[in-house]
C-alpha cells in the first residue's frame, strides 16, 4: 500500500520564480494538508484541502495557493519566491474524521 507520494524530492529555484509541488495521498485518504518546515523548526500549517476546496488556512500569504483534484491528489503553488521560502514542504493526508496524519517524505525547496 503506497503511502503519501511527493514530487519532486528536491528543487532549486531563483528568487521571483514560481513553483508547483505535487502530492498523492495515501490510498483511502480524502484530506490533504500542506506544511512548511524550516531547518530545525516544527512543521507550520499552510492549508488543508477537502472535497477540492481549501478548508482551512494558516498564517501564509496569498503567494501560497493550492488545488485538490477529484482523485484527492493536490498541488501547492508558490509565486514570487523569496529566499525565506526555502524549506522542506511536507504533504500530509488523512481521513476527514481525523485519525492521524500520514506524511510524505517532502520536497526540499531551495530559493537562490
Amino acid at each position: 500500500d503506497a503511502g503519501v507520494t511527493q514530487s519532486p524530492t528536491h528543487l532549486i529555484k531563483t528568487r521571483g520564480q514560481q513553483v508547483t509541488l505535487r502530492c498523492s495521498p495515501k490510498s483511502g485518504h480524502d484530506t490533504v494538508s500542506w506544511y512548511q518546515q524550516a531547518l530545525g523548526q516544527g512543521p507550520q500549517f499552510i492549508f488543508q484541502y477537502y472535497e477540492e476546496e481549501e478548508r482551512q488556512r494558516g498564517n501564509f500569504p496569498d503567494r501560497f495557493s493550492g488545488h485538490q483534484f477529484p482523485n484527492y491528489s493536490s498541488e501547492l503553488n508558490v509565486n514570487a519566491l523569496l529566499l525565506g521560502d526555502s524549506a522542506l514542504y511536507l504533504c500530509a493526508s488523512s481521513i476527514r474524521t481525523g485519525k492521524g496524519y500520514t506524511f510524505g517524505s517532502g520536497t526540499r525547496l531551495t530559493v537562490v
Binding site: 516544527g42 488543508q48 481525523g98 506524511f103
Partner: protein, 109 residues
Amino acid sequence: QQPVQSPQAVILREGEDAVINCSSSKALYSVHWYRQKHGEAPVFLMILLKGGEQKGHEKISASFNEKKQQSSLYLTASQLSYSGTYFCGTGMTGNQFYFGTGTSLTVIP
C-alpha cells in the same frame, strides 16, 4: 497558536524514562504525537480525542488534559530507536491543526 513543548531537548541513557509536555493557549479538540528522525518525515505515534484519555503505543503512552489544554507523552525504558524530535500536534475548531515547538530526544547507550 503554536503549542509550546517542554523540555526543548533531553538526553537519556538506554532504559531511562522521559516525559514531554505540550501546552496550548487555545481550547483543544484533539492531540496528536509524532516522531521525526533527522532527514525523514514525521511519523504518527498516536491521537487522543477525549479529555483525560490515555493511549499507549509499546512503551510510549500519552495523556490529554482537556481542561488544562495540555498533553504529556511518556516514554518508559527508552531505547536507542526512540531518538528523534517529538512533536505534539493540536487540533482546534475548524479543522486547523498546529504542530508544537518540538522536543529533541537523544538516547545514548
